[in-house]
Symmetry: C2
Subunit: 345 residues, 2 copies
């Protein structure tokens, strides 16, 4: 009947130690409330050791209804710097609590997502992390709404779930502060903006929040933006184009705030072509703090996406006794480098 040759089980250990399976179970799972003779415990531990006993977690799970696993499904391509960090953070937190992580990507296809989640649910995961690569509001599939879930880098439309997002508005304020500190009060321009696309007609979450924070931060010092070049955020090319027309047009900006590092890269390229040097002629400030920021010359000051911390937080929250439905905003640290200087006068 047993389909295949098996490994050593608690029964084997019990036999070898001359005790019952219960006793073995007790000592191996380290239960305190039952007092087993010191010698029996020694014999059991010894036998387990000698036999190379390892618990079968599948069997244990069937009985306890705890698998010590958490499932993480993200929407699109984890092949970005950020994604990796997020997953690493999640992993760390899971490991600290002796959990393992199932990882999968839905490719932003609802049907695929459903199947993945079902696969995890069928395998009795203890909880689910729903991650998005770009911060946004979404609706959690019905199938998981009754299971422990935490949203990572996204918000459920109902607000009924615990979620973890970067504190983008505060980041915008940080940006304002950085510029203000350096003495910039006019000629501050934005490249990127809210990022209006067909799928996000009102702009992306990060765009809206960053802009709000930036504008408010500036406003509190009586400063206003000189202009905003709305453009696609996805590649340096767009930042390059926006900066070119910006430099070709009106009065030269003294500082440009880029909505992400790729855009800043494009802005560098354009500044370079116009014979402008960063930061002497124009200060550049950015968001995300991807690897690119440190590769650029001069190195780019950027307000970092705290992806690793977010990943950690999501799993911690998921695995903690009472995950209060609340939005956790993780601070975005600024990475000061060499792209900001006082305005030329």
């Amino acid at each position: 009947m047993p389909p295949s040759p098996s490994r050593v089980t608690q029964a084997d250990v019990a036999r070898r130690a001359g005790v019952s399976r219960t006793t073995v179970s007790f000592v191996l799972s380290g239960r305190e409330d039952t007092r087993i003779s010191i010698e029996a415990r020694q014999r059991i531990l010894g036998a387990a050791e000698e036999l190379g006993y390892r618990p079968n977690l599948t069997a244990q799970s069937l009985r306890t209804r705890k698998t010590h696993t958490v499932g993480l499904v993200s929407d699109i391509v984890a092949s970005t710097h950020y994604a990796g960090e997020m997953i690493q953070g999640a992993l760390e937190a899971a490991l600290e609590r002796n959990h393992l992580l199932y990882f999968a990507e839905s490719g932003d296809d609802p049907e695929a997502e459903r199947r993945l989640l079902q696969g995890m649910l069928d395998r009795q995961v203890d909880g689910l992390i729903h991650a998005a690569m770009s911060t946004r509001v979404r609706r959690l599939p019905d199938q998981v709404r009754s299971h422990p879930s935490v949203l990572l880098n996204c918000l459920d439309e109902s607000g009924e779930f615990t979620s973890v997002v970067p504190d983008e508005e505060a980041a915008g304020r940080q940006a304002a502060k950085l510029l203000l500190e350096a003495g910039h009060r006019e000629g501050i321009h934005v490249v990127g903006g809210r990022h209006f696309t067909r799928r996000t007609p009102d702009g992306v979450y990060a765009g809206r929040e960053r802009m709000r924070g930036l504008e408010r931060g500036l406003a509190e010092a009586g400063v206003r933006l000189s202009g905003v070049s709305e453009c696609d955020w996805s590649a340096p090319e767009y930042g390059y184009r926006a900066a070119r027309s910006l430099l070709a047009a009106g009065p030269r900006p003294t500082a440009v705030v880029c909505c992400n590092d790729r855009l800043a890269f494009g802005v560098y390229q354009a500044a370079d072509e116009s014979g402008l040097s960063v930061p002497q002629d124009v200060s550049v400030l950015s968001f995300d703090d991807s690897e690119l920021a440190s590769w650029l010359r001069p190195a780019l000051t950027s307000v970092a996406l705290p992806h690793r911390e977010m990943g950690r937080a999501a799993v911690s929250l998921l695995l903690s006794p009472e995950p209060v439905p609340a939005v956790h905003r993780i601070p975005m640290p600024v990475r000061r480098r060499d792209s900001i200087a006082p305005p030329r006068r």
Copy 2:
């Protein structure tokens, strides 16, 4: 006794359909060799549907000794473009075969790796993928040597396991071909080289193989390298420095082969500073094909690391009936862009 309120089981379905659990198991698992009346089958399917029955894969696994899961543990930070691709490929292949993926990182710490592998083994994974971020030779921990394992982007020192690596030597030849086709026969310089470090005194695998392929490919056309600037591969800065001294020193190179895109980025920066334009004054060619390659101006021609294909291959091999211990070399496709031109005469 049952620790908690439970979901619907096969027993519930059987009760509802008025048959035995065996019958339910038969039809639900779609066994062909047993003929169950068409109506019984209908009733069962209907009942399962109505009740929203979902199999408990933990229970199933305990019985069948198959969990339909594979564990993937990689060494360091998956926060690179490449890593994501590799995992995606692995994921795709796993999903196609109805498996889910455990993912973890060892941080290159043998003890951590041991613990992770043990966690996966204890959870009865059907197989293991051992991934490395940078191609290299290693030794698989003893604990997993008797379990189905495939090495991804690394080789076991014994050669006893199935492994999947990029075909770096062929890539080097491709690079040679690209340059030769464009008419370059002299002034060809390499930035990067074998990448000798404290941990890799003989150079890294990719460095050795790429160089060998490049030199041989060139040699077959009677061409020799003008020089090799050995340097650290990890950031554009090193490429920048190497290129600067290269440009300051002897006769100007007509083509520079960079060992990865970051280095090429540095070379672009240096060329730019020297007033040289790519590709008119100097052709640049690179390896890896990261996102950077398409972001650079002019866009960089690069021989791509086939990470997604490698991931797919590793899982396919792992899950196929007889994983022959063999080294599978995956071809590296060249991405032609705008950084190569005929040499100026």
